[in-house]
Symmetry: C2
């Protein structure tokens, strides 16, 4: 039987269940009350600001009935109900790890072993079935990439993919861009050169957090695509050279692109970016657009370069990569804050024509979370 007790000063509540004991502050409980005066019943947005919450908020009464906690607060006498399951799910009286270099929730690191089960969806199913769509989006949240097959082979089909979850991010490259050999390329992507695994547009802040590449023709020799898990690479670097890992997190690199008129994109971000709690947040890696490193102190520059070289070697290691050659009507999407993509050089008689566009993760994760809520509600 769960039980609640209040501290003598009314500033804390302790919830004792069979398995655990969780403390909450009166102010936190008052701030998170769910009632029509605190939150809008329609859209769930909070109606009050901190100025409406007395600093000296206390608990004056607490009772627990059938999984519902009923609380009364002083000094204003406000009362509110809390679902016990909600309280346990939102408890903060727990260990809060802060070591650097942890995977975010709901992600798994991967290496070339994933070649055996490349996350893939078929467009007709994913477009028609909520569960197939949720499964495909879940792959992207977990692995940071997924393939899509069975698209109609037509220019602009990449927008059909973005329409499944969100919105295109337009840039100076257009709403979409043509990836094929050009005579005077504004970007090395528009040549037949092989490209080392990279994240796109690290010189852009905010960086586009998703990229879609869709294949319309691929009869040239070569031109395979590779994807590499930047988080797995960062963790491998941390294992073999923890100080080097720290250097790549601690100092900002600079990236730059000024390949066409009227454009001078610049950013200052670390190659490995951590959230304040040490969770891996983003990887930026692009040998074409990295600018001179000026934010690393002289005495650390050699060690920084050594770590940068090790990370580059890990990224180039075929043990880390998943490879596929796209057929017309196939595409892939990458989480551009995490997964690097590469291509082999191509040549010969045939043609290679891909179309690319950017989009953002907010819409993708929102669509997935909404589908998951819907599935839970139906279950």
């Amino acid at each position: 039987m769960p039980q609640v007790t209040l501290s003598a000063d009314g500033r804390q509540l302790t919830l004792q269940t069979d398995s655990t004991s969780l403390r909450f502050h009166a102010l936190w409980l008052r701030d998170n009350a769910i009632d029509g005066a605190t939150r809008d019943p329609g859209n769930g947005q909070r109606l009050i600001t901190m100025a409406d919450l007395p600093a000296e908020t206390t608990l004056t009464q607490a009772s627990l009935t059938d999984g519902t906690l009923m609380l009364t607060f002083g000094p204003d006498g406000h009362s509110a109900r809390y679902d016990l399951g909600w309280l346990v799910a939102n408890a903060y009286d727990k260990p809060q790890p802060r070591d650097a270099g942890r995977l975010p929730a709901q992600t798994s690191a991967w290496t070339s072993a994933l070649n055996a089960t490349v996350p893939t969806g078929a467009y007709p199913e994913v477009a028609q079935s909520d569960s197939a769509r949720a499964a495909w989006l879940e792959h992207i949240r977990r692995y940071g990439f997924a393939k899509m097959t069975n698209l109609p082979v037509q220019s602009g089909n990449l927008f059909k993919i973005v329409d499944l979850f969100g919105y295109v991010r337009e840039t100076n490259y257009g709403r979409h861009f043509e990836v094929r050999t050009e005579v005077n390329p504004t970007n090395l992507a528009y040549t037949g050169l092989g490209l080392q695994a990279h994240t796109d547009n690290p010189y852009r802040d905010p960086v586009p957090s998703l990229q879609v590449l869709s294949c319309l023709e691929n009869s040239a020799e070569g031109g395979e695509n590779m994807v590499v898990d930047g988080f797995a690479c960062a963790l491998r670097l941390k294992e073999i050279n923890p100080e080097g890992f720290d250097l790549l997190c601690k100092y900002t690199a600079r990236f730059e692109y000024a390949g066409s008129a009227g454009v001078k994109l610049q950013s200052r971000r670390p190659m490995i970016e951590l959230a304040p709690d040490g969770t891996l947040q983003a990887v930026r890696f692009n040998s074409r657009s990295i600018a001179p490193l000026t934010d690393v102190p002289f005495d650390e520059m050699e060690a920084y370069y050594a770590a940068y070289r090790q990370l580059s070697e890990i990224i180039d290691d075929t043990d880390m990569e998943v490879t596929f050659k796209l057929e017309p009507g196939e595409a892939f999407i990458v989480d551009n804050t995490r997964v690097l993509h590469a291509r082999k050089g191509y040549s010969g008689a045939g043609n290679r024509w891909l179309q690319g566009c950017y989009a953002d993760k907010d819409g993708l994760l929102s669509t997935l979370a909404a589908l998951e809520s819907q599935q839970e509600a139906a279950a």
Copy 2:
């Protein structure tokens, strides 16, 4: 007379000018060579990767003539020229401050004193003159907001503003959204309620880094807009409560919006976000969409709330705000990673109709940098 010397092992070069002595590593110099084999002469992108740079790179020869440094490297015998001015501008042998809570380069903090000289541009000038456009964009880079006057009073005129520098970021709210009173509002923005100063969509990751709000009607009573410099507020908090400032940087807050079907946006980011070197990077503050704080340890929660309350009080302090009532044909733009915006409640016989949209800073800063390069080249 500038002079250069090489270290005995060839791994360092020292550049001695009248005023300073700057050291560079051989590897850094080789990596940043500007020649047709290292960088594409057309688009400036680097053609080599770390695998092409020998780890044991050394300098074997150095000579300085008329502001140009000519270097030869071992073991591969590569040689390259460096402009002395470029070297000094990109030097890293210098103090690299890392204290928390510094303004980014090219920004100035501000308070209500800025009411006397609100950064403003007139659309016809800004659209037609490069120098007027650069000046208006520079206001936004420096202060994080600017007004725009003399727009044609017509629906969609806010896109004219975005076209000056970049691209709209479409979201679940549309390419643009109507800010006026609705009967069943999916967002409290679509009511006549006053709104505390906030950044928009902190529940979105990446957050839209620019917002434009354009006025088509404003005959209601009230409805003034206020803007507040989030960086100035963060620095004031740091002054009065440095430990509290650290708590708001150190622990992630959570934000959430699920006000309409199919949407469940969630983020986990600190209210005050620092770059790894301690520079202020972003402020997120929104009493409507902050979710329960679960990433703050129990023992720090009261101190965290106290700091959150202080920051809220600073934000509400009229000494921090710039206020204006938009006329039809007027608009303003905010750097949504820094500047909070608010509105007074409105009511009465008249109407208030604004249109809003999001865009991103990458395009704005790129356009400004390109205009500045062009002005320098012409000077």
